[in-house]
């Protein structure tokens, strides 16, 4: 089955020598929700724009549904874009905005009216049909942008940081709406964002980019639990990093030493040799705080002392000094039985329990 979108070794350099996209290949299947994730400047937006047709790759080809569209202008491609700053036409009403794509295609008037109503109903804005964009809120404008793009039944919907201009609560609500929309319509969504939480919530697959290249692509769970590099581990969610030196390598595990504390990591030992400098990464919620003794079987035990206590409402993030440069962050979920006041205070000596399978091992290339 052909991929809906395929980028084949695409490169884009801008005047001034900036290589925005570097030899990038990507395949998106029909109906997938794929997110390009990365900080600003990583090339994700440029990649999206090359699929839309606003930028031409210097090298490489772009395929839509198996057809080479690299030389096609945007108005000949069966993709539509939702823009970060909405790009609604200020001199047209909402209905005229939404119907624009049909109007330029020469669709008969009655059909336009019918389909515009449908599209507006889809995004729940039928009552704002004849209003000018200037009278709408940010979220409403975004929904008009969505309707306008979807009305043309594109093969792929491209979304360029569509929610970044909205405030947090609205953004959260819109994320859910987007997810529902995708499930309902079943078309391919390609989203660009720097918000990793958004990527995790919405996507079937996340593609993490840095400096124009793909660093790792996979499901949200894969990326979260098995990050391929420290960059990914740090970009997605929060990670603790422990510097250690390899003591022993076995087929299924590696033993490392961090300031005299032995830590066992369940991982394929391939590529690691004794004496290597490594980084061990652990998620805050994967470490358990022990105050007196009893550790789960097989878990690593790391001693430390509480130095930070950060109450975040539904959880408490404790910073534990384990002899590394930064305190080790432990997230403790609060609930009916466990309140903030029952947690040990800063200054208390504690032990952290971390299971060997909850640790990722990376070579330490220094200066992370």
């Amino acid at each position: 089955m052909t991929n809906t979108v395929e980028l084949d070794r695409v490169t884009k350099t801008f005047p001034g020598g900036i290589t925005a996209v570097d030899d990038l290949s990507l395949a998106v299947r029909e109906g997938e929700f794929v997110t390009l994730l990365g900080p600003s400047g990583c090339g994700k937006t440029t990649t999206l724009r090359m699929i839309a047709g606003f930028e031409e790759p210097d090298r490489g080809r772009v395929y839509l549904d198996g057809e080479d569209v690299t030389d096609l202008p945007p108005y000949r491609r069966k993709v539509n874009t939702v823009f970060q700053d909405y790009a609604l036409f200020p001199h047209m009403s909402v209905a005229q905005n939404v119907g624009y794509g049909l109007r330029v295609a020469g669709t008969p008037r009655e059909e336009i009216v019918k389909r515009v109503d449908e599209a507006l109903r889809l995004v729940d804005l039928l009552d704002k049909k004849n209003v000018r964009p200037s009278a709408l809120s940010g979220g409403q404008k975004q929904r008009v942008g969505l309707a306008r793009a979807l009305i043309r039944n594109p093969k792929v919907l491209l979304l360029d940081e569509p929610l970044s201009a909205l405030d947090v609560k609205l953004r959260d609500a819109m994320q859910v709406e987007l997810k529902h929309l995708h499930q309902k319509l079943g078309i391919t969504f390609l989203l660009v964002t720097h918000d990793q939480k958004e990527a995790l919530i919405l996507s079937d697959r996340v593609v993490v980019m840095e400096s124009g290249r793909i660093v790792q692509a996979g499901t949200p769970a894969e990326l979260y639990d098995r990050p391929a590099t420290p960059y990914v581990a740090n970009f997605i969610g929060v990670s603790n990093f422990i510097r250690a030196r390899v003591k022993r390598v076995a087929p299924n595990e590696v033993e490392a030493d961090a300031n005299g504390v032995g830590i066992l990591v369940r991982t394929s030992g391939a590529g690691a040799t004794a004496g290597d400098e490594v980084l061990l990464s652990v998620r805050p919620e994967k470490a358990q705080l022990l105050v007196n003794g009893a550790a789960p079987a097989g878990a690593n035990r790391i001693p430390g002392r509480i130095v930070d206590h950060l109450f975040q409402g539904n959880l408490v993030r404790l910073g534990v000094d384990i002899g590394q440069k930064q305190p080790f962050l432990v997230d403790i979920q609060l609930n009916l039985g466990l309140g903030d006041s029952s947690l040990p205070r800063p200054g208390t000596t504690v032990t952290l329990a971390v299971h060997p399978s909850a640790i990722s091992l990376f070579p330490d290339r220094g200066g992370r």
Binding site: A52, G53, F54, P73, P74, Y75, V79, N80, T81, F83, D85, Y86, A87, L88, F89, P90, H91, Y100, G101, R103, V104, A105, R132, S134, R148, A149, R152
Partner: protein
């Protein structure tokens, strides 16, 4: 001074400014206001004088005023030469303005988004008539028309001169408006299937329309009043300013006050309209 004192001083200052219309706490602010008012009075003095004395029943512009009269207006409108010159000016201004728009809009677009060899030179040339005294532009064109092209001077040469001198008015305004224009809208339009000409017609043009209209009105007004370029390119037929100019050579007639008042008031209306159009009312800039 502690942070608290600074904070307090500032708040006190603020509350006082809220009470006075100018936000002034100091005598020097009032002095400034008076100076400003004086300059504005200075700016409008001649206009007021012109209007008042156009109705004054006296050959001379002396104080105190004699009676009220429509005499000068009647004379002015009865003056055949003057009326012909007025007609010529309207004719010239209309065609010159059309020329400016037809050339200025693409020029503004080109400056905004096209990179072509010689763009810098083009940009400098287009702006030149705005900063160079008209005499230089008028002279240069006159020599070319008469000596090189062998044409005789006429209203047509005047029109060509005005078109050249004023095309940058339209070009710069269109350029400025395009700069404020959200480029994403054109991308959105293309994304939705519109070909470039469609995008220009349906998206770009409506958003620069008021800039085009405003600068056209401005060009019209400026063409109506143009002297230096016109001076060198006029043949037998006079424009209104040329007629007035030659009349002044012979001495002041109060009819000039009358026709002058009409021109000034008409210009004021056109200019206010044009400024209103050119000032991009926020919501139209496409956000």
């Amino acid at each position: 001074m502690t942070a608290a004192t600074l904070e307090r001083n500032r708040t006190v200052g603020l509350s006082r400014t809220r009470r006075m219309p100018f936000g002034s706490k100091h005598a020097s602010d009032w002095t400034l206001g008076i100076a400003a008012a004086a300059v504005v009075a200075f700016l409008y003095l001649p206009v007021v004088v012109l209007i008042i004395f156009s109705f004054n029943d006296n050959n001379l512009t002396t104080w105190p005023l004699a009676g009220f009269t429509w005499h000068w207006y009647q004379n002015a409108f009865a003056n055949k030469e003057l009326m012909i010159a007025l007609g010529n000016s309207i004719y010239v201004a209309s065609i010159a303005t059309a020329l400016c728009v037809v050339l200025g809009v693409p020029a503004g677009i080109a400056l905004d988004r096209i990179d072509f060899p010689g763009k810098l030179l083009f940009r400098r040339l287009v702006l030149l008539p705005l900063v160079l005294p008209g005499i230089v532009t008028g002279l240069a064109m006159m020599i070319m028309f008469t000596k090189v092209l062998g044409l005789s001077l006429s209203l047509t040469t005047v029109i060509l001169g005005h078109g050249t001198a004023l095309v940058s008015v339209v070009a710069t305004q269109v350029f400025a408006r395009l700069q404020r224009f959200n480029r994403r809208m054109e991308e959105a339009s293309a994304d939705l299937g519109a070909r470039p000409l469609q995008t220009f017609w349906m998206v770009t043009l409506p958003n620069i329309r008021s800039a085009i209209l405003g600068s056209a009105l401005l060009s019209f007004t400026l063409s109506f009043d143009e002297i230096p370029v016109t001076y060198f390119l006029t043949g037998r037929d006079n424009t209104l300013p040329m007629y007035i100019y030659s009349t002044l050579r012979r001495g002041i007639t109060p009819e000039i006050n009358a026709i002058g008042t009409v021109i000034v008031l008409a210009s004021l209306v056109l200019i206010v309209l044009s400024i209103w159009l050119l000032s991009d009312r926020g919501e139209k800039s496409g956000k």
